[in-house]
């Protein structure tokens, strides 16, 4: 062994906060290398990818717009992840939430009721919860691994969206494009700043982060879920219900993802199409980890992740690189985070080989 890890007597608090920053630095460094390998100037690449998106107030507004669904999904997922409830199907829950709220918008088309939009948000949350309740039920009732079931439901949700927009919900005047009618004004989230697209869902997301903070750090239920995540046997010994943790973790994650779905279809998209989410539900898992499963961290991590999305768009436009480069960055970020987390609990020593 050339590397040796020595457990620290106490986990390093400094490293807990430093580790995400190291991960970001490593991601930037390997990003520069990547640009170089692709024959682009690293400085130019850095500028286009990370600075260009934020050069005006429209860009900053876009950053918050894209961060909104990430915050919503990530804070919901973090509640479950803390209890080792691995809901990795937020993407599907987001889609079903969008469908549930979108159905309301389409069904009450032209309604002037001020209740329509709140109704859509509630319906979105319920839709996401419904989709999340399937893996929750299968896990608590049949012991089925929620990782695989929640993920399979993503594919099913995608196909459901595809079927609806190609079939029953297709806009009859839409030139046969696979999309629904545009939502009417009353069914759209109000824009916060004229001339931008950032909308009121940002407030919901911030409220969710605050509520999430109180739940995780001050409530007894949040404490119980933390215990369930760290020491399953202790949780059973104390008499905390494991099933309740699973249900709560899945439902909160699903509900939040559902609202994120509404924030998209009743926000920048304004209708239901086949492309509601560019993988927000998956990116939110990275956000949750990079944010240390804490709402404050999630706030910053989702801004970073939104920047990666925007950087990808810029890179596509100005560097002629595929948009999926942002996913490469996302994946690298998570790996670097997991890697640098080792320093929280371990001290690393380099060993010279001992000769016999």
């Amino acid at each position: 062994m050339w590397l040796r890890f020595e457990p620290r007597a106490e986990p390093s608090r400094l490293m807990r906060y430093l580790s995400p920053i190291i991960a970001v630095a490593l991601m930037l460094a390997s990003g520069m290398v990547l640009f170089m390998l692709l024959g682009k100037s690293p400085m130019e690449g850095f500028k286009v990818f990370f600075l260009n998106p934020l050069k005006d107030s429209y860009g900053v507004a876009e950053l918050f717009l894209k961060a909104t669904p990430l915050m919503l999904c990530a804070v919901g997922l973090a509640v479950g992840f803390r209890a080792n409830v691995w809901n990795i199907g937020a993407e599907g829950q987001l889609l079903v939430g969008a469908l549930a709220g979108g159905w309301l918008a389409l069904h009450f088309e032209g309604s002037n009721s001020p209740l329509l939009l709140p109704g859509m948000i509630v319906a979105g949350a319920l839709g996401g919860m419904l989709w999340a309740s399937i893996p929750a039920l299968l896990r608590t009732r049949f012991n089925a691994n929620e990782i695989l079931t929640s993920l399979m439901l993503v594919y099913i949700a995608e196909l459901m969206v595809s079927w609806l927009v190609h079939g029953p919900w297709k806009d009859p005047d839409g030139f046969n494009f696979p999309q629904t009618k545009l939502f009417t004004a009353k069914a759209l989230l109000p824009v916060l700043m004229p001339g931008t697209r950032v909308n009121a869902a940002l407030f919901i997301a911030i409220a969710a982060l605050i509520a999430g903070w109180v739940f995780m750090n001050r409530s007894f239920m949040g404490y119980q879920m933390k215990v369930a995540g760290q020491a399953e046997h202790a949780s059973r010994y104390a008499g905390f219900s494991a099933k309740r943790s699973v249900w709560l973790g899945m439902l909160v994650g699903g509900g939040m993802a559902g609202i994120a779905g509404i924030s998209e279809v009743a926000g920048p998209i304004g209708q239901i199409t086949e492309h509601i989410s560019p993988g927000y539900g998956f990116a939110a898992m990275i956000v949750a980890f990079v944010g240390r499963l804490s709402p404050v961290g999630i706030f910053f991590a989702s801004l970073l992740m939104a920047l990666l999305y925007m950087g990808g768009e810029q890179a596509q436009q100005y560097l002629n690189l595929p948009y999926s480069i942002s996913k490469v960055f996302q994946g690298m970020l998570l790996f670097f985070l997991l890697g640098s987390d080792v320093f929280i609990n371990f001290r690393v020593r380099l060993l010279r080989r001992i000769n016999k």
């Binding site: 986990p11 007894f220 046997h233 010994y237």
Partner: protein, 517 residues
Amino acid sequence: MQTQAPATPRLLIKGARKAYPAVVANDGIDLTVMPGEIHAVLGENGAGKSTLMKIIYGVIRPDEGELHWEGLRVSVANPAQARALGIGMVFQHFSLFETLTVVQNVALALPGKFDLASLATRIEEVSERYGLPVDPRRLVHALSVGERQRVEIIRCLLQNPKLLILDEPTSVLTPQAVRKLFETLRQLAAEGCSILYISHKLDEIQELCHTATVLRGGKVTGTCTPSLETPQTMARMMIGEDLPVCHHGEPEDGGEVRLRIEGLSHATEDPFGTHLKNINLTVRSGEILGIAGVSGNGQQELLKAISGEEPLTDRRAIQICGVPVGRLSPAGRRSLGMCFVPEERLGRGAVPRLTLTENILLTAYRKGMLFAGLIRFGVAKRFAEDCIARFDVKCGGAGSEAKSLSGGNLQKFIVGREIMQNPKVLVLAQPTWGVDVGAASFIRRSLLELRNSGTAILVISEELDELFEICDRLTVIAKGSLSPTIVTSETGVEEIGIWMSGLWPSSEASEGDSHVA
């Protein structure tokens, strides 16, 4: 010893040192083992015995020190090399694989050709020769703890070891099985095999060992010939003072029944578990009832049934203060005044990565620590500080992580947390397992005090000495059934030992609290 006087030591260790971030486990240890010698390494928990053995067996590498094997300096890099030298080791927590058969388990530790059929024959030969009966074709998870130990020993013997290390081998055996083991070990020593015998049990060492090296706090505090010492003099070397004595005091008669188990039968879902069969017992206010038994005979299952971690179908099977609780959750049972101290401290009794304050919340949250679903951290912190002070828990304060405490201090904290909730019934599993002598006697004194204040206490333990020291009545669990209950002063280690192998007068076993003399 068979060899002539100035023989070469089989094993010689000079100045072995091993330091971990929090503790120096071995600090300049010297050890000499002669051929054919049964050599005890004596010391209490945390003295550094296991670390020393792992160094000899090549599991861990010392920071400093020399190891000489039959006169030659060697460095043991890994267990395979140790085995090649002729060192065999029987681990305290067995290194067997449950889903594999005996012969597969043995094959894993042997070099050479992979021929299970002929290996099975060799296993049978060795088991015959040394009186260690075991069926090579059975799966390990179906074996009793004693049988597993035999597999470990056979696995070592097949390599014709010159040095056999046994780490606390008797903690899992009945007194009768201990005697049989000693016969096997004496036979081996007579054949010239050296034996390193690790233990903290003074009487066993006196009975078996030729020489003893005593460790305390990672250092050698003396070597002696056990037959020339008294337990008191060895104890002084081991803990630096006289063994503390508990004053038992007379039990009060006729308290009300606080815990009643009635016809409890339960089939476990765990394929490696033990089914409980018609268990009956009562524990009264102001008494301590002890359940003895070799581990793996249903203790875990019984504890889970009592605590509520394993839900039952029969409500009346368990009653707390007359209330049937068979279907209640652990939380529901706690609110009726039952508290528990589990065997596993880290991960069950306490969450390793949470602070002591947060660990107080685990079970004591009913003591005014919640308000509208939110936690009152101030109340929990004061409770934790009280507990630390009252139970003499050595730690960095209520904010330290449970993981950072030593075994004894964490156990004092957990016992304290449960006692401070003023339980009507307290159930404990292995209350002093792996705890240093000082903390163990403190915990036993606390339990006796609690009994005198009227709590009904149930102790499940594998340490017979402990049960005889603190219990008013005793019963034995074997193969998922419970023996009759007997008053401690009316029985002895010998009788309980026989019961531990499942042989007890069966006719009167139906009534849980019938006194069988």
